[in-house]
Symmetry: C2
Subunit: 272 residues, 2 copies
């Protein structure tokens, strides 16, 4: 089984390194030669590969727009398994199944990452214990799905989560996408920059992921625009309730709002 990983950023290079650590031969494809050399020097790949045509399994570890171009126009071997790792799944699935393909598509979303990006942040242990989401529909090939899951377990993922692309996109809007917007907006308070010495754990938590790559995340957001818009509007509406309680000096209302949030959090923790 020949595996090719396209795109050696933090996720792609970690896919390579963790698969190779598990004994699978892996070939890397990347437009920058420096990155391929880094991967070779650090033992992340067995060699470079410039095309997908010999590959039995291809992982596309690329931003959404490039992934879509590859899924739509690149040449794959007949029956090859082609998996992407994008943080949005609906638009990709719709594209792939819009016409017959000679390859077998599996959508995945490895729920791991860091605040930093690029191959220098990659490691063979990045995925250890993390969730691996696999999306499928009635047109997904069951054998291809099984192979991808086997490889995910070899990479060290702790749990394989199955769902539809639509379910993935709806949930990812609140569990990840909106969190990045909030963090990015939070840090812009005029007083945030003047407040070192005052920050405890809550400020660190709130702003850790503020430094997103604006190009990648804008792409991700607009591939999931409706769900994210709904979540953003929902949060603004909820925050406005706290604002109104403050503005109208309504302590009872504030107490009720905070109680509701505390109970909701306890409910979520119990349900875990």
């Amino acid at each position: 089984m020949k595996i090719v990983v396209s795109g050696l950023g933090i996720i792609g290079a970690s896919l390579c390194a963790s698969l190779r650590a598990a004994g699978y031969p892996v070939y890397g494809k990347n437009r920058s030669e420096n990155v391929v050399e880094y991967a070779l020097e650090h033992g992340m790949i067995d060699g470079e590969e410039k095309s997908y045509e010999d590959a039995d399994v291809v992982f596309l570890a690329l931003p959404p727009a490039v992934t879509m171009r590859e899924l739509d126009t690149a040449k794959f071997k007949d029956g090859a398994i082609v998996a992407d790792i994008c943080g949005v799944k609906g638009v990709l699935e719709r594209l792939v199944f819009s016409r017959p393909r000679n390859y077998r598509y599996v959508g995945t979303h490895p729920m791991a990452g860091k605040e930093t990006s690029g191959i220098r942040s990659a490691s063979a242990t990045l995925f250890k214990g993390a969730n691996f989401i696999v999306t499928s529909c009635e047109r997904t090939d069951p054998d291809a799905l099984e192979t991808v899951e086997t490889l995910a377990r070899a990479m060290g993922f702790g749990r394989i989560v199955h769902c539809t692309a639509a379910e993935h996109d709806r949930k990812i809007a609140i569990t990840s996408q909106l969190a990045h917007i909030v963090s990015n907006a939070y840090v812009k308070s005029p007083y945030a920059a003047k407040s070192w010495g005052f920050t405890g754990g809550s400020f660190q938590d709130m702003t850790r992921i503020a430094g997103v790559d604006e190009n990648l995340w804008t792409e991700l957001y607009f591939c999931n625009r409706e769900s994210l818009l709904e979540e953003t509007e929902g949060l603004i509406e909820r925050l406005t309730e706290y604002r109104d309680a403050l503005a109208s000096c309504d302590e009872e209302k504030m107490r009720a709002l905070l109680r509701e949030g505390r109970e909701k959090r306890e409910e979520i923790r119990r349900g875990r």
Copy 2:
């Protein structure tokens, strides 16, 4: 020097335990006998104390309203140092200096805590390396201030930060108070509860502090209402910009907003 700590919750009992570990004799005051017994059994205090009248140093580790009542009506020894640990400082300082007092007041805010509260969460090492904020004005006694700082260092705090009560309250609105509101509001998304398996670090960060004690935090918020209202409105306005970019399909605007946040965060980190 006789030290009395009133209120043996997580902060008060940790004050006791860390001072005692540093060799200071400490007496505890708490309305519930069970709590006093727990403190005695766990070696956090040398003994129980029912009044402040013999104390050279008193720490009031109580919610804002009770702290204000004590500062205004309790009997202290002439010249005693009385420090509070509330998360708001302006209202307390104004109350204390509204008329002559026979004690010397110092406002403090230990920047440490946990998601849990009560004496069972207390420890002699809670403050290790944390920031200790001391507020003062022209009416603060310099010797009292120095004694409180000496005790804070003995408790293990890593850094003593000086400021006015007004500066403290303005900064705490963004570094702590608003973070708790956002977390509390974030967790209420209808999809949050359905999304286990989808959550990575960003969701955990965003919701860790959602489970606030609604009574304490409502008090804190209304003691700092204007600053917190301004910060809440500022965040709602900023979030509305991202919302508008999504609603109007303006990718360029979204990219610019995210870039601005990333640069702001880098600026804050550099300034640290």
